[in-house]
């Protein structure tokens, strides 16, 4: 498959009074046309920043320090503000986490869906209106013709997320970034939204970057998975290989932290401790203070992301010959 996006050694830092937060510290990945990539990690692991950096949407005190992000032949990090704006919403769109706060509360949702079409001069006002109504139908809003004129507060959380999806799909983007699209929703609604996204992906053949803290969700939904910890990629694998053989102690820890009714009682083994402070991250492997297999080398030397087998990379000193040798 052809490559749509290739990110190389991306680094994004935030400048705070207490010091420099290295939120994303040298990550590389690639994404093919039609591929779904899952980025998994705890809050503060840099998963959202690693993607918003590409579109220049990080907060004011943040800066992309280096790296490149080749999208469709162009380096997103070197584009002018205007060139980047032309890509936002048209070639790359985003579904944000909280549909309650991500829609303008005092603007009719129909207008909000029309905006990207008009801003990118793709359609006339009237055609944009027809397209927005059509999109509402596609994402499964009942009575979509009248609801076009409603305000966000007149929708439930799940319906608002459908509106967000309609908005993201408006310009037929090549890449949709879904930033925890189901986290703020009820469980029952969550499944509906995931189904809808799956359906859209099949229909429109777009690539998706799916950001989530729920590792089992990513395993169900994605083709490839990236596990991030403290601003770095610790494991990068095709989903088949990852399901068969998750290697990094952190990945295993995440899996052990999820409930599995088939396993016996006591199988829930949370990772002890908290994610590290990213102003002064731990020496060596950033995960070593929380790792149950920690050895001397882990405290001294930072592990590199090595290819263990085809389509399976791990950053851990203790992984040898396709196994975690602890």
């Amino acid at each position: 498959m052809a490559e749509l996006l290739k990110v190389n050694n991306l680094r994004t830092y935030f400048y705070r009074n207490e010091g420099v937060v290295k939120a994303v510290d040298g990550i590389s990945y690639k994404l093919d046309y039609g591929e779904t990539l899952g980025i998994v990690g705890e809050s503060g692991s840099g998963k959202t920043v690693s993607v918003l950096s590409l579109l220049g949407l990080i907060r004011r005190n943040g800066r992309v320090e280096g790296g490149e992000a080749i999208f469709d032949g162009k380096d997103l990090l070197k584009l002018s503000k205007e060139e980047l704006r032309e890509i936002r919403g048209k070639d790359i769109s985003i579904i944000f986490q909280d549909p309650m706060t991500s829609l303008n509360p005092i603007m009719r949702i129909g207008i909000q869906i029309m905006e990207p079409l008009i801003w990118h001069r793709l359609l006339s006002d009237k055609d944009a209106r027809d397209r927005a109504i059509e999109l509402l139908r596609v994402v499964g809003i009942p009575e979509y013709k009248t609801r076009f004129l409603d305000y966000p507060f007149q929708f439930s959380g799940g319906m608002r997320q459908r509106v967000m999806i309609a908005m993201a799909l408006a310009c037929n983007p090549k890449l949709v970034i879904a930033d925890e699209p189901t986290t703020a929703l009820d469980v029952t609604i969550r499944a509906q939204i995931l189904n809808l996204m799956h359906e859209m992906k099949e229909k429109l053949n777009m690539s998706i970057i799916f950001i989530t803290h729920d590792i089992t969700l990513a395993m169900n939904f994605c083709d490839t998975i990236i596990v991030m910890y403290a601003g770095k990629i610790v494991e990068y694998s095709s989903i088949e290989k990852f399901i068969k053989n998750p290697l990094h102690p952190y990945s295993q820890g995440l899996l052990n932290s999820t409930l599995d009714i088939e396993k016996k009682e006591g199988s829930l083994r949370p990772i002890p401790g908290n994610p590290p402070n990213l102003i002064n991250p731990p020496e060596g492997c950033r995960f070593h203070p929380r790792c149950s297999y920690v050895q001397e080398i882990c405290k001294e030397k930072e592990p590199e992301l090595r290819e263990i087998e085809e389509k399976h990379k791990v950053a851990c000193h203790l992984v040898k010959g396709g196994n975690l040798n602890a």
């Binding site: 579109l55 949407l57 704006r85 032309e86 890509i87 936002r88 919403g89 048209k90 769109s93 985003i94 944000f96 909280d98 706060t101 991500s102 829609l103 303008n104 509360p105 005092i106 603007m107 905006e115 990207p116 801003w119 990118h120 305000y151 507060f153 967000m164 908005m167 408006a170």
Partner: protein, 320 residues
């Protein structure tokens, strides 16, 4: 339909609140030391009242009390006042027995109204853009300078600025007249002085409101859809950030309606402020109660107006 019902219900609340305000005012005046007659006597001590014998004075006071209905119990006085007040009949004042208060007010109100509206317009026209610019250029020298001036506007009292302006523009530059309220040229300084306070408040409010909105998730959404700065700020940020500004403009305007005492005094503007301040210092009770009545009424009506405008600006608000 909902709107008419809503307004009627609010008007009823205003009616009840006004009664409460009047009762409290009467009680406060009754508690407060000092009486019109003592003060009038003191002020006229060189005049003819002081030369009267105590008996003559008693007769005079008795006649006075009868004329103003002060010879009945307090609750009856309140009732008598309320009966006429809602028809805007306030009777004569102590200090000006020949002219009913409503006539005195009617003569002065247009002046105060003009001053209030001109000043508030100026405050809005300058304050809102100032706040917007400060927010958009936050933490730059543009922000610091505009907030410095708005700080000055809210710290230094209007009458001080008024005096400084008179010194600069009337004494040294000789371009503006010092007082009066007939020609547009005479209005310039009073209007600017009255406008400075609200202008400063509006600018600071606008700045923080816009900054708050710019940090909202939906602004990021708008940028993610490919909006230019211009489109995002005008279409998404400004309208949302203007909503809270309406709340502060309403009450500010209501207070300006009842006069801006110091400025009116300084520039000899024949408005309501002077009338009401004299009422307090002279213990001119009918006038004092009426000024409270008018101030309360205009604050409450302004709040009602603000709430109605609010609902037009924000679709989430419904009249219940």
């Amino acid at each position: 339909m909902g709107l008419v019902k809503y307004i009627l219900r609010r008007l009823f609340t205003i009616f009840v609140s006004l009664i409460a305000v009047i009762i409290i005012t009467y009680i406060l005046m009754w508690i407060a030391p000092g009486e019109f007659f003592n003060i009038a006597q003191f002020q006229a001590s060189a005049g003819k009242v002081a030369t009267l014998t105590p008996e003559q004075l008693q007769v005079l006071i008795k006649g006075f009390e009868e004329k103003y209905g002060l010879n009945v119990p307090l609750w009856k006085q309140i009732l008598n006042y309320l009966k006429d007040a809602f028809r805007f009949k306030f009777g004569p004042s102590f200090s000006n027995p020949n002219e009913p208060i409503e006539v005195q007010i009617a003569r002065r109100f247009p002046v105060t109204l003009t001053l209030a509206i001109l000043s508030m317009t100026l405050a809005v026209i300058v304050g809102i853009p100032l706040g917007i610019i400060a927010a958009l250029k936050r933490n730059t020298w543009i922000d610091y300078i505009s907030m410095f001036f708005s700080m000055i506007g809210s710290i230094i009292p209007a009458y001080t600025i008024g005096v400084i302006m008179v010194i600069i523009f009337s004494v040294y530059l000789r371009v503006l007249p010092t007082s009066g309220w007939e020609t547009p040229k005479q209005m310039i300084m009073p209007v600017i002085c009255v406008a400075l306070g609200p202008m400063a408040v509006i600018a600071r409010f606008m700045r923080s409101s816009l900054l708050d909105v710019l940090n909202q998730d939906y602004i990021r959404t708008a940028y993610s859809k490919g909006g230019t700065d211009r489109a995002v700020i005008i279409r998404h940020a400004l309208r949302n950030s203007l909503i809270p500004i309406v709340t502060i403009i309403g009450p500010q305007l209501a207070f300006l309606f009842t006069g801006t005492v110091w400025i009116e005094n300084l520039f000899r503007v024949p408005g309501l402020g002077q009338l009401f301040v004299n009422a307090a210092s002279m213990r001119d009770y009918p006038l004092l109660v009426t000024s409270t009545f008018i101030l309360s009424l205009s604050v409450m009506l302004m709040n009602l107006l603000v709430d109605i405008i609010y609902a037009f600006l924000d679709p989430r608000i419904k009249y219940e």
